[in-house]
């Protein structure tokens, strides 16, 4: 589809460049986002650009239209949720709706949002620190049982947490911590995948020489970890924190199982309980839609603003 038919590559090599590069006669597009090494010498035709963009646009439509629908539906005034076009605004009353949402039943929705924030921030915060410390030890220290520990961590990554929920519930009911904040927090803190990522990041971003130098300066291992290594691993910390945050925020089965009181629920459990009431005619569907919209906003904001961190984190997880 491009003009590459001549098998003689070397004749037009640009002098100072080490790699082979054809000097393209026409239509060179050099807008590859990664620049430099790739993309700048690959010619494209208008047809292929249009075809690729059209297909990508179709997929984007699939991924975005439900979110767009949710947003539009959340802006419609109570009683008009399903009036007018489903994909365009009418009877706009987003702010009135949000006020209604937070006023309902003495602000139970705000309690749920606060609970979600508590579980996610405390759980992911402690979890990240513990996971990174473990991953760092696995990458930088020699100790007995290291191989076993890493094997166990990898094994735990391969068995989903959800499968542990019911056993956890049985154990918690036998020990009596059901229906407390701890019943959600304690299991949420443990993140084998975080340990795995922590090990990958510690190995790649903290040079042994730096640790040795700090030791020669007389710093203790604790000082080295908190004062030197953690700083070098800052992007890794953000990545692990973000992914654990999302995992906890999105968790449904564990909190729905180990909590009884409405006041301890995170927003996911709260919304599903409302949806069950919709079927029974005890609450308007409208409220569930606005609640769903509001529950999504913090995560979308977090992801958009921390993009460069999670992308590198996923890449590291995939490549090793």
């Amino acid at each position: 589809m491009t003009t590459s038919s001549a098998p003689a590559p070397a004749e037009k090599t640009a002098g100072d460049r080490p790699r082979r590069k054809r000097s393209a006669p026409q239509g060179t597009t050099s807008k590859g986002s990664r620049g430099g090494l790739r993309g700048d010498s690959i010619e494209t035709t208008a047809t292929s650009r249009i075809a690729v963009t059209a297909v990508l646009a179709l997929t984007a439509l699939y991924f975005l239209f439900p979110l767009w629908w949710l947003f539009v539906a959340a802006t419609k005034d109570a009683g008009y949720t399903f009036a007018g076009s489903p994909l365009w605004f009418s009877n706009f009353d987003l702010f009135g709706n949000i006020v209604d949402l937070f006023a309902y039943k003495d602000g139970i929705f705000a309690v749920w949002m606060a609970n979600s924030a508590l579980y996610s921030i405390v759980g992911a915060g402690l979890g990240t620190l513990i996971a990174v410390a473990t991953g760092y030890a696995l990458a930088k220290y020699e100790f007995r049982g290291k191989g076993v520990l890493f094997g166990v961590v990898l094994g735990a990554v391969l068995i989903p947490k959800v499968l542990f929920t019911l056993p956890l519930f049985l154990m918690f009911s036998a020990t009596g911590i059901v229906n407390t904040y701890l019943a959600v927090l304690l299991p949420s803190i443990v993140s084998p995948f975080g340990v795995y990522l922590g090990r990958v990041f510690a190995a790649s971003s903290v040079p042994d020489e730096v640790i040795e130098a700090a030791r020669l300066d007389g710093a203790s291992e604790g000082r080295i970890f908190f004062g030197v290594s953690l700083k070098m691993m800052a992007p890794a910390l953000v990545t692990i924190f973000l992914f654990q945050f999302v995992e906890i925020w999105n968790n449904f089965l564990l909190p729905s199982q180990v909590l009884i009181s409405e006041n301890l629920r995170p927003v996911t459990v709260g919304l599903v309980s409302w949806n069950a009431l919709v079927q029974a005619g005890q609450i308007e569907r409208h409220m569930v839609i606005i609640g769903a919209f509001v529950a999504v906003v913090p995560l979308v904001v977090a992801f958009l603003s921390l993009q460069r961190f999670w992308r590198s984190g996923l890449a590291a997880g995939a490549l090793k």
């Binding site: 082979r20 489903p86 100790f143 735990a156 391969l158 959800v162 443990v190 203790s220 599903v272 999504v296």
Partner: protein
């Protein structure tokens, strides 16, 4: 791991500066200090992973004996294999496993094919607005699965869902949550939510394909299609394997989406997936049986993951 826990290590405060000149020290010192780093994780892991499974195994070895008259009073009798034997003969449980296997066999390849396709398209030289497309497919990942299931349950709604309206303009009438389509309605929610996540992993791997290799292919006259299929895809094989394993695991724990959609349709019953079946046993206050089902599932998923891992790593070596 346990041996290192028993060796009493000093707290990691600054100690003995003078000793820092000995070059041999770090090795022995780090093995003592490692306890402070891995200790909290090990303790929590034992408490939140090992202990519950051990407790579930213990619990699963009892049989519930209901009072003959059915008036309250139940007894738990030690009968180690009873619940496991019962599970293997439990039609609803076996059906739920079969349903999830069917789901996985269809949904995982569709989702990963889509993810790979999008990643290759965004990686291609012809793509424009790369970051927009990358973000738009990843956006659903930020939506909690129960929220996306709620959202789709409204979209599917036969009475006032927009999907019905849109298709109605073309004279098509589809009942998404009917007996025949419910499983695929669930599959669509899962695909919508996770394609972007898998796409990002594969795309990150594609970025690691050296430019020289691609240039060489081009000089040899390879078309973009051929370059994608014969060069890029084999080079990102590890990423595709990783996403496959994660997706298989994901299918095995299918719960949130069908649980939420169940609120909108009678086509999804309380034992639709294995995890839902175990939950149903819990609701019926049969804790030992619920424990046995959980243990069977955990073992099953572990075996499946390891098998897949072995199989693929042998083929690649």
């Amino acid at each position: 791991m346990t041996t290192s826990l028993t060796s009493a290590a000093p707290p990691p405060v600054e100690t003995k500066r003078a000793a820092s000149t000995r070059p041999q020290r770090p090795r022995s010192r780090t093995s003592r200090y490692a306890v402070w780093f891995v200790g909290p994780f090990v303790v929590l892991f034992v408490g939140m992973y090992v202990a519950p499974i051990a407790f579930a195994i213990y619990k699963s070895m009892f049989r519930i004996q209901r009072d003959a008259l059915g008036l309250g009073g139940t007894q738990e009798i030690f009968d180690p294999l009873f619940n496991y034997a019962y599970a293997l003969g439990d039609a609803t449980f076996i059906t739920s496993i079969g349903r999830v296997l069917l789901f996985g066999v269809v949904q995982v390849p569709v989702m990963l094919g889509l993810a790979l396709g999008i990643a290759l398209l965004i990686d291609s030289a012809s793509a424009r607005a790369k970051s927009f497309f990358r973000l738009s497919s990843f956006a659903p990942y930020a939506v909690p699965t129960v929220v996306s299931a709620l959202m789709w349950s409204f979209l599917y709604s036969p009475t006032n869902g927009p999907m019905g309206q849109l298709l109605g303009w073309f004279g098509i009438e589809v009942s998404f949550l009917s007996q025949d389509l419910a499983l695929w309605a669930v599959a669509n929610v899962v695909t919508w939510g996770w394609t972007g996540y898998n796409m990002i992993i594969i795309y990150a791997a594609l970025q690691g394909v050296p430019g020289e290799v691609l240039e060489a292919a081009k000089l040899d006259g390879a078309s973009p299609w051929r370059t994608a299929w014969s060069i890029k895809v084999p080079l990102v094989r590890p990423a595709i394997l990783l996403t496959t394993i994660f997706s298989i695991i994901g299918s095995a724990q299918l719960y949130n989406e069908p649980f939420v959609l169940k609120q909108s349709t009678g086509a999804i019953d309380a034992s639709y997936t294995p995890i839902m079946a175990a939950q149903a046993s819990l609701q019926a206050a049969n804790y030992p049986y619920a424990a046995a089902q959980s243990v069977l599932l955990a073992v099953g998923v572990a075996v499946l993951s390891v098998l897949f891992f072995r199989l693929t790593s042998r083929r690649s070596s």
